[in-house]
């Protein structure tokens, strides 16, 4: 168990595993995502309430879902950074934050565009849209702080503290935004929550969520590899990899 833990902390070991995993992650991710999207766009039946605009769901839900879980993953990695000082954990936080930012932006953008035909406006201060907007700010803060601190070790630990403070706040933010939303707009605007989604709708949705997860895994591995290369420049194995190995 502990040996595994130490191995997991070794950048060299991770670099090799990532290199082996990445083709599978990329292929699987693209395959599942494409299957889900094509199925959802062309073959899934029309929604009886919202018509065809609901087809945005097949990218809106995956991006929103992933945007939130990436932050939670970052929080777990932040704990590992602060408690065990594991190098890989802070490499993960640093590499993945921009991906989370892009995913959050995408879920906001698709949500806003979906709102136009459904609610008649581009933006409503709907509880979920508002919480996602705040999540976008949180990601922005993490990236800004990371960029502002030059020293690698301090940056990693400062960012970890910030991510943890953020993750404690996320449930509070979500709760308060929901409360605020009911206070200001009596539930006229809500994404229609259908009691039971037919299988032709949720199976493609599931496929695209899984596909995006795999794709995120690929991106995370790739960006972590980059970060590891830059940090471990002075080690023997990176030199061998760069000058001889070539992949």
């Amino acid at each position: 168990m502990w040996q595994f833990f130490h191995k997991l902390g070794s950048p060299k070991w991770f670099f090799g595993i990532a290199a082996r995993l990445m083709p599978w992650l990329l292929a699987g991710g693209i395959l599942l995502l494409m299957a889900g999207i094509v199925w959802g766009l062309a073959f899934a039946p029309k929604d009886y309430l919202q018509g065809n605009s609901y087809r945005i769901i097949f990218i809106h839900v995956p991006t929103a879902f992933l945007a939130q879980s990436v932050y939670v993953m970052m929080a777990v990695a932040a704990v590992v950074t602060l408690v065990w000082r594991m190098k890989l954990a802070d490499v993960f936080v640093k590499s993945v934050a921009p991906v989370g930012l892009v995913l959050t932006f995408l879920s906001l953008f698709t949500g806003a565009v979906w709102g136009k035909p459904t609610w008649g406006t581009w933006w409503v201060w709907d509880a979920r849209l508002t919480s996602m907007l705040i999540l976008l700010f949180l990601y922005g803060g993490v990236i800004a702080l990371d960029r502002a601190i030059n020293d690698e070790k301090s940056a990693a630990r400062a960012v970890s503290v910030l991510v943890l403070v953020g993750v404690v706040n996320i449930p509070i933010i979500q709760y308060s935004v929901e409360w605020w939303n009911t206070l200001h707009q009596p539930s006229t605007f809500k994404l229609t929550e259908k009691p039971s989604m037919p299988a032709e709708m949720w199976v493609p949705l599931l496929l695209s969520v899984l596909g995006l997860y795999l794709l995120f895994g690929w991106l995370a591995c790739l960006r972590m590899q980059t970060e590891i290369l830059l940090r471990e420049q002075r080690t023997r194995w990176v030199k061998d990899y760069v000058l001889v190995g070539r992949g």
Binding site: A42, A44, N52, I56, P98, V99, F105, L106, L222, R223
Partner: protein
């Protein structure tokens, strides 16, 4: 197939622009992110390699002078 024809698929009963702009943004940003990340790794590998070559030059003065000589030769031929 939920649509009768390809044009019906593009129009989506008037919701086409919304749906397609979302998918366009999604693909644009995701592909952009992937390409950017790939390029960053490539750049990192290049940076490492350049660092090692510089180091090797410094350790081996003969190689350094040889490369300097080749550098002047290139300059002369350009003149």
């Amino acid at each position: 197939m939920a649509f009768d024809s390809f044009s019906a698929f593009m129009v989506m009963e008037g919701h086409g622009p919304y749906v397609w702009s979302c998918y366009a943004a999604f693909f644009l940003l995701m592909i952009g992110l992937m390409v950017w990340s790939l390029r960053r790794r490539k750049a990192a590998i290049e940076a490492c390699r350049r660092g090692y070559e510089l180091q090797a030059d410094r350790q081996d003065p003969q190689a350094a002078s040889a490369s300097a000589a080749s550098f002047t030769r290139v300059k002369v031929s350009q003149d």
